[in-house]
């Protein structure tokens, strides 16, 4: 399948890889926001995951240990945010920004000894004959395990939020924390667990960058991926499958513009690179233009502190 000199199959396969880190971070943040918490620290948790995963993988020689370490490191970073905002009642926006700044500085410090090292490689999954199926095989069966993990995360979060009791409790907490509290749900506990889940996902997304995508540790290597993930949650209007769509759209645009350039085509790539941000702004404008729409999409208690009354 070719359009001009571009091979669509190759494009799709590489956009899936490019989108995986932001998809992971976005799915985590989606759960956090569904619980009514706005954590702007995604970038900080991602880069902490990137450096921790890298450091642990290099030290132990095992990429899997690195991934697990990144998940734990991301969750611990998020726990700081959780304690600040849920226990000490700090402002969520300020705490989230502080978490990003802290993560960037902390990762630079931890990463100093790991600059210029090539980490142990993560093997791609071997699907045997499946990967030889024309078109489908190349798109679906030639990736590393984490690409599939990210898809499972989307499906899992969707199922959990819409089909399980605990998922519904989480949404209730996010929609109206006072009512949820009155019904006897532990608002704080639910939120702190959601925040830690978000951190774990962001950490894994970061480790995907440093262990598979690049694979190397460089200071500040997430380069704004966390912010794109945040925008993605809004773009997806807090729905897991739309987050997948959005991530592949954003990733696809990046891969497409690079490939258009690499193919030597005369194309104003500036507009293409701008478009994910323009789309996000557009979504934000549409959402905020009508109160009714916004209240349909955004969790009702998003960003509000919860004070248990009585």
């Amino acid at each position: 399948m070719e359009i001009g000199s571009l091979n669509v199959v190759v494009l799709i396969a590489s956009l899936m890889v490019a989108a995986t880190p932001i998809l992971m971070a976005a799915i985590g943040e989606l759960v956090v926001e569904k619980a009514g918490v706005l954590n702007l620290g995604v970038e900080g948790m991602m880069i902490t995951g990137a450096v921790s995963g890298f450091a642990i993988a290099v030290t132990t020689g095992s990429p899997v240990m690195g991934m697990l370490g990144a998940i734990i490191a991301g969750a611990l970073m998020a726990l700081i945010f959780g304690i600040l905002t849920q226990v000490l009642m700090a402002n969520q926006v300020a705490s989230g920004l502080a978490l990003t700044l802290f993560g960037l500085g902390f990762s630079a410090l931890v990463g100093q000894g790991f600059v210029g090292i090539v980490p142990p490689r993560t093997a791609k999954l071997d699907f045997g004959p499946l990967s030889d199926i024309p078109v489908l095989g190349q798109i679906l069966f030639r990736h590393d395990a984490l690409v599939y993990v990210s898809l499972l995360m989307v499906a899992g979060v969707w199922y959990w939020l819409t089909r399980t009791r605990s998922g519904r409790i989480l949404r209730a907490v996010g929609e109206n924390h006072d009512s949820a509290h009155a019904l006897g749900y532990k608002v704080r506990r639910v939120r702190i667990l959601a925040i830690m889940f978000g951190g774990a996902c962001a950490g894994l997304g970061g480790a995907y960058l440093s262990l598979i995508r690049v694979p190397q540790w460089t200071e500040g290597m997430t380069a704004g991926a966390g912010w794109i993930a945040l925008a993605l949650v809004v773009f997806a209007s807090w729905r897991p499958w739309r987050a997948l769509l959005g991530a592949y759209l954003f990733g696809g645009i990046m891969v497409l513009q690079l490939n258009l350039q690499a193919a030597g085509l005369r194309f104003p790539v500036e507009y293409l690179s701008m478009s994910p941000y323009l789309i996000t702004i557009l979504v934000l404008v549409i959402m905020s233009s009508s109160r009714a729409r916004a209240s349909l999409a955004a969790p009702g208690s998003l960003g509000q502190s919860f004070h248990a009354a009585g």
Partner: protein, 362 residues
């Protein structure tokens, strides 16, 4: 995003300032030399190369100088603050190592006339204590272009470029020109990354180039990510700013190495002697400021010889890499037969040479 670190490093600089106050009482105290870097010095590229030169100077002068550095300083007001802080803490010489520091360097230089400022790759020189220095990296591109032209099998050479400024265009044009000289079928595919350092994007750019059939990757960005992708995909690549062979042991062909140490050492010596005056220099292969790293195992002996001959011809001054007849991409004449480009013409470069596909983004 790098502000957190900037704060930390500025705090460290403040701490240094405090100790400088007490130590300044001794006449024999070492001369302080400050360095500011635009990115992380661990990039193994541009900033790393400057820091290697700082370390070489420190080792050369031993106790006679004391070097300090602040990394990841964004171009703009932050740079001005950092340099002001350095000057206040007693630095007598400041090396500002990024193009965009120009306005900040000149603003701080006006306030500290006794401090010697050395600005890399800049063009603003408003005060007698501002010196400019650069390196003829494009001379190195002539060498790697020759190697690329000889070694490409698909006849497509991929180039990851940062920003459409003269220096980057010089590199693209020079590499293309010399690939074309030895291989008339060679094509250049350029991807503009619009960043000096974003490893994930650079990796994606390298992959896009390889997917589009390029079998040689060169880059003018700061990270080693393109080399790692090239190694993984079994495609040849060149290192940028430092020898990157450890990242692609099998497919690293060679690298353009920025060797700032001789310049830094001679300028610091002049400052120590009291003979420092502002200058504006642009050395290259001949002076050893641009080096070609050892050839990788993949480079055949005859190609190595050809590359060595190119280095020799440029170093001796008998060959200017930009010698006419050369046309611009639109077919208009840039250099007449036998005409060599002077420095002014090079700095005015805002076009591709004839034969390069694609458009330079604005």
């Amino acid at each position: 995003m790098k502000r957190r670190q900037l704060l930390a490093t500025s705090a460290a600089a403040l701490g240094l300032a405090a100790t400088a106050g007490t130590r300044g009482a001794f006449a024999q105290s070492p001369m302080k030399v400050g360095f500011i870097y635009v990115g992380a010095l661990g990039d193994f590229g541009w900033n790393y190369a400057h820091d290697q030169a700082r370390l070489a100077a420190q080792e050369h002068f031993g106790g006679a100088i004391e070097t300090t550095f602040v990394e990841a300083v964004p171009e703009g007001p932050d740079a001005e603050r950092v340099m002001t802080q350095m000057a206040l803490s007693g630095a007598q010489m400041i090396f500002a190592t990024s193009f965009g520091y120009g306005p900040a360097v000149n603003a701080v230089a006006a306030r500290f006339p006794d401090v010697a400022f050395e600005h890399a790759t800049g063009y603003m020189q408003d005060h007698p204590n501002v010196s400019l220095y650069n390196a003829r990296f494009h001379e190195g591109r002539a060498v790697i272009g020759t190697i690329a032209g000889r070694m490409t099998e698909t006849n497509k050479i991929g180039y990851i470029a940062a920003f459409p400024i003269a220096e980057v265009l010089m590199g693209i044009n020079c590499a293309y020109l010399h690939a074309k000289k030895v291989n008339p079928d060679a094509e250049m595919r350029v991807v503009w990354a619009f960043t000096w350092g974003d490893p994930a994007l650079e990796a994606a750019a390298a992959e896009a180039l390889i997917d589009q059939g390029c079998d040689i990757i060169m880059s003018h960005t700061d990270s080693t990510a393109p080399l790692l992708v090239a190694q993984e995909r079994g495609v040849h690549a060149f290192g940028q700013a430092s020898d990157m062979s450890s990242f692609a042991p099998e497919t690293h062909l060679t690298a353009i190495v920025d060797n700032w140490a001789p310049y830094y050492i001679s300028r610091i010596q002049e400052k120590l002697d009291g003979s420092w005056t502002a200058g504006n220099v642009w050395p290259g292969l001949a002076e050893g400021e641009v080096l070609i790293a050892p050839y990788g195992p993949a480079v055949p002996a005859e190609v190595q010889e050809e590359a060595d001959a190119m280095i020799a011809a440029i170093s001796s001054g008998e060959y200017n890499p930009f010698t006419g007849p050369l046309n611009k991409q639109d077919g208009s004449v840039w250099l007449e037969e036998g005409q060599a480009a002077d420095d002014g013409m090079l700095w005015g470069m805002d076009f591709y040479l004839e034969g390069i596909e694609g458009e330079i983004p604005s």
